[in-house]
């Protein structure tokens, strides 16, 4: 546990992705099975204990720390787990700390009384960092800035192999992942998961570059709409259905309606959307269903989930990924005709003779739920990752609006000495005071390193107020912000929320008073 606690501690304080990868890889390399496997499960979110320890903690702290001192400490630290970790009296420094495997094994099936007893024994044998890590581990939510994908990437780096290979295995293997590590260390063959319902890494597209169409042969490509939802993969076999996000996280629990359908033995690629009575709802509606572990009946009824199918990866146990896109499309159509699922339809193809004709379709489309066009090579096999020259995404032209810089915040990591996170606003009628600025969004990319230097300098010399790492600036700099779409939002003071806002251009030339008004943004709301 001590080494794992050190790892979590270092991860929490290391802002850079590479540093985190190195820390995890070194840990996997130096720690033996099964501890490292449990660590991987914990980091990749596969061992979400979420135990209720509040009562146990209260019982344990009462005889150890004066309740008033505990309360004052808790108020200051702001986090119960950390407060307990810091306050716990160092009991037996020479005792052997519990191993990660011991903790995982002992927690299995423990009732409340046993949990209290276990926690007491472990807390006595750990130092402050170990106690913090233990409490974070049992309560869930490590918050050390590591995504499941990053943890899997660190493991993949042992061999090294592409993370896609680990992701493909992931749902076919189980913690503590002995067979995975054996393969990654060249001590064994790759685990055989052919009989299991697993995630296949997705094929992704490149953004279409300026002028790139001219170099492509229209006859070699097909086009379809790019739907504005969440890319998912649905895998089904023998009555079991699993739904995965594009990163291979399982999201089946949040969308139980798909389990009610008969899919057969198949793996499908598509876009998760909310479709109400055959009508596609705005992205905002889908957002109501995301990031939930469970879902109520009302949620299901109000925001019915639907998949628009792009591709078929396997059918009847046969892997179709090496077939060309055209053949897979035929297979997909055939499968769909046979099964007629109520909650899935086909993403239809957009016919075109020339790219000029396609461009007219593309630029003329501002329909709800369409992000743009996908252009796919008819001969492409289904390849994991983002292979070059196969699929292109042609996002519709972004919307732009001229805003006024209001606040700037220091960045993190390499950008910690720069004001690099910008909050910008639009004008609104403010009654007696005339026009006032209301914040409409935040962006921290879209500019070059040189522009960042200039922005940073401007912020420093136009500061009106400071709030910790944030500076308020005088309304004097116009930022042209590009974004994909804008939605009504009750959570924002302005009443609007942008999707993917980024700094498009810095309008050094434009007076702040001529920036756009909030009404302009409101008029762009769809749906």
């Amino acid at each position: 546990m001590h080494v794992f606690a050190e790892l979590l501690d270092r991860l929490a304080f290391s802002p850079s992705r590479n540093a985190k990868l190195r820390l995890m890889r070194d840990y996997f390399r130096s720690v033996p099975d099964p501890d490292r496997g449990w660590a991987l499960a914990i980091l990749a979110g596969g061992l979400d204990l979420k135990l209720q320890v509040r009562k146990a903690i209260t019982e344990l702290m009462a005889p150890r720390v004066d309740p008033e001192l505990f309360r004052l400490s808790r108020d200051y630290v702001g986090d119960t787990a950390e407060t307990v970790a810091l306050l716990w009296p160092q009991a037996d420094v020479d005792a052997e700390p519990p191993s990660l495997s011991e903790i995982v094994a002992d927690l299995d099936g423990a009732d409340a009384a046993r949990l209290t007893m276990l926690l007491e024994r472990w807390l006595d044998r750990l130092d402050a960092t170990g106690r913090w890590a233990l409490l974070k581990l049992v309560t869930g939510g490590l918050r050390v800035g590591v995504s499941a994908r990053l943890a899997k990437t660190a493991a993949a780096n042992l061999k090294p192999v592409d993370v896609a290979e680990v992701e493909e295995l992931w749902h076919g293997i189980a913690a503590p992942y002995r067979e995975l590590f054996a393969w990654l260390e060249d001590r064994a063959e790759k685990p055989d998961i052919s009989n299991r319902l697993v995630f296949r890494p997705l094929m992704l597209a490149h953004p279409l570059e300026e002028g790139e169409l001219a170099r492509l042969e229209p006859g070699e490509f097909s086009a379809e709409w790019k739907w504005d939802g969440i890319r998912v993969q649905l895998a089904s076999k023998a009555g079991e259905v699993r739904l995965f996000s594009r990163t291979g996280d399982e999201v089946t629990g949040a969308f139980p309606e798909f389990g009610d359908e008969i899919w057969g033995d198949v793996v499908l690629d598509g876009e998760l959307l909310v479709v109400r009575d055959g009508v596609l709802a705005p992205f905002n509606d889908l957002q109501q269903r995301l990031n939930r572990k469970t879902v109520s009946k009302k949620m299901r009824a109000d925001y019915p989930a639907h998949i628009r199918l792009y591709d078929i990866l396997s059918r009847g146990g046969e892997d179709l990924r090496s077939l060309p896109l055209d053949s897979r499309r035929e297979g997909l159509v055939e499968w769909h005709r046979e099964h007629q699922p109520g909650r899935a339809d086909l993403s239809s193809l957009v016919a075109f003779d020339s790219f000029d004709a396609l461009e007219r379709v593309w630029s003329g489309t501002r329909e709800n739920g369409i992000e743009g066009l996908m252009i796919k090579r008819r001969a492409s096999p289904y390849l994991a990752g983002r292979p070059k020259g196969h699929w292109y995404k042609w996002k519709r032209a972004p919307l732009t609006v001229d805003t006024v810089l209001m606040y700037a915040q220091r960045g993190s990591g390499k950008r910690s000495s720069y004001y690099s996170d910008f909050t910008f606003g639009a004008w609104r009628e403010g009654g007696d005071e005339g026009a006032i600025l209301v914040p409409v969004g935040k962006a921290y990319f879209g500019f070059t390193d040189e522009e960042l230097l200039a922005l940073d300098k401007w912020v420093r010399s136009n500061t009106t107020e400071r709030f910790g790492p944030v500076r308020a600036v005088a309304p004097g700099l116009v930022l042209e912000v590009a974004f994909d779409s804008v939605h009504a939002s009750k959570r924002h003071k302005s009443g609007v929320a942008m999707r993917f806002p980024r700094i498009h251009r810095i309008r050094w030339d434009k007076p702040a008073g001529e920036a756009d008004r909030l009404e302009t943004l409101v008029a762009m709301i769809e749906g």
């Binding site: 929490a12 304080f13 290391s14 802002p15 720390v65 004066d66 008033e68 001192l69 004052l72 400490s73 200051y76 630290v77 702001g78 986090d79 950390e82 407060t83 810091l86 306050l87 402050a128 913090w132 220091r410 993190s412 990591g413 390499k414 910690s416 000495s417 910790g468 790492p469």
Partner: protein
């Protein structure tokens, strides 16, 4: 035990600071006064412009370096342990272990003894004399880390983490944010004790006080100014700078710096993360909770006044051990490193 007359009849805070009436002097006044007794050289304790100053010789030297001509009118050095009659009281200075020159003020008047500790710590510090507990009737203590969550790590642990991180990141420099008086020199001295004998690079604002420490007999080894150094030269090196410079444009001249901060606040994760610290070291020149509690036991005072910091918790604790505790609000005191 009730004291008679109660010391608060002759020592109390007024508009300038803590005032000792029969001695006719203030202790660490925050505004210029006729006569000041200064516990140590930090800016929130030693202020410029007093007509007469009484302090240890080291503190007087520090004030001269920091304030030059403004340091005060008559600067009188009083060696540690030597009693001096000041009007109707007897004054002596006892080591406080906080920074070089730091002292507690021991005041005796009509058979009562009051100790004003200033800032202090109990653990060993290679750059200054160690704290000496003085039994007294009334003890005035600081409470910067007056919560039981504050327990500083052993110096050796902090230093081995720093040296270990330097070795593990040869292409990056380690930028240590330190207060210019005390913490800077202590970290350097601890690094030297840990066997780190490479050059240590300094921000310009830290140089004068390091030179003074050396002149006063605290060896600090090979120190070099960052100014003028080549960026590539600083890879794999330790650089020290005031906390303000760490996250400012100044740090852009350094090769991919690991941000290190040595402070008691680093015990609380959120505080460290808010500052963007990559390597937090829990190292302070202030007493941690255990040291505060130990000191209150050691001095055996029946009454304790608690100044600047988290007074609530310490006053509560003093109550639970059957003594009298009082929060004493003194304006002009700052949190360490904030």
């Amino acid at each position: 035990m009730k004291l008679d007359p109660h010391p608060e009849s002759w020592i109390y805070p007024d508009g300038q600071g803590l005032y000792c009436a029969p001695g006719r002097f203030h202790i660490d006044p925050h505004r210029p006064v006729e006569r000041a007794v200064v516990t140590h050289g930090h800016g929130d304790h030693a202020r410029p412009g007093n007509a007469r100053v009484l302090a240890t010789g080291e503190t007087v030297e520090i004030m001269k370096v920091r304030y030059g001509e403004e340091a005060g009118g008559d600067l009188q050095a009083l060696p540690l342990g030597e009693p001096l009659t000041v009007n109707d009281v007897s004054v002596r200075l006892a080591p406080a272990g906080h920074v070089l020159g730091s002292a507690q003020v021991v005041i005796e008047h009509r058979g009562q003894r009051v100790v004003v500790s200033g800032d202090y710590k109990r653990r060993r510090d290679p750059t200054c004399a160690g704290f000496e507990p003085v039994k007294c009737d009334l003890f005035v203590t600081e409470a910067t880390f007056g919560l039981p969550v504050f327990r500083h790590e052993p110096d050796e642990t902090a230093m081995s983490r720093l040296v270990g991180s330097v070795a593990a990141n040869p292409e990056r420099c380690h930028l240590v944010g330190v207060y210019g008086l005390g913490k800077c020199q202590r970290v350097i001295a601890l690094l030297r004790e840990a066997g780190y004998d490479r050059p240590i690079w300094l921000h310009g604002a830290l140089i004068a006080l390091c030179e003074l420490y050396e002149r006063l007999g605290v060896p600090l080894g090979d120190l070099r100014p960052v100014m003028g150094a080549d960026k590539s030269e600083l890879a794999g090196q330790i650089v020290m700078a005031p906390p303000g410079a760490v996250r400012d444009r100044w740090s852009r001249r350094l090769p991919d710096p690991v941000s290190v901060f040595a402070s008691g606040w680093m015990r609380v994760r959120q505080r460290a993360r808010q500052r963007g610290v990559e390597l937090p070291l829990v190292l302070s020149d202030h007493a941690d909770w255990d040291e505060l509690v130990q000191t209150i036991d050691d001095v055996e005072a029946g009454e304790i006044w608690v100044t600047h910091g988290r007074e609530d918790a310490l006053v509560h604790h003093i109550g639970t051990i059957g003594r009298i505790g009082r929060a004493l609000a003194l304006i002009g005191r700052e949190d360490e490193d904030d």
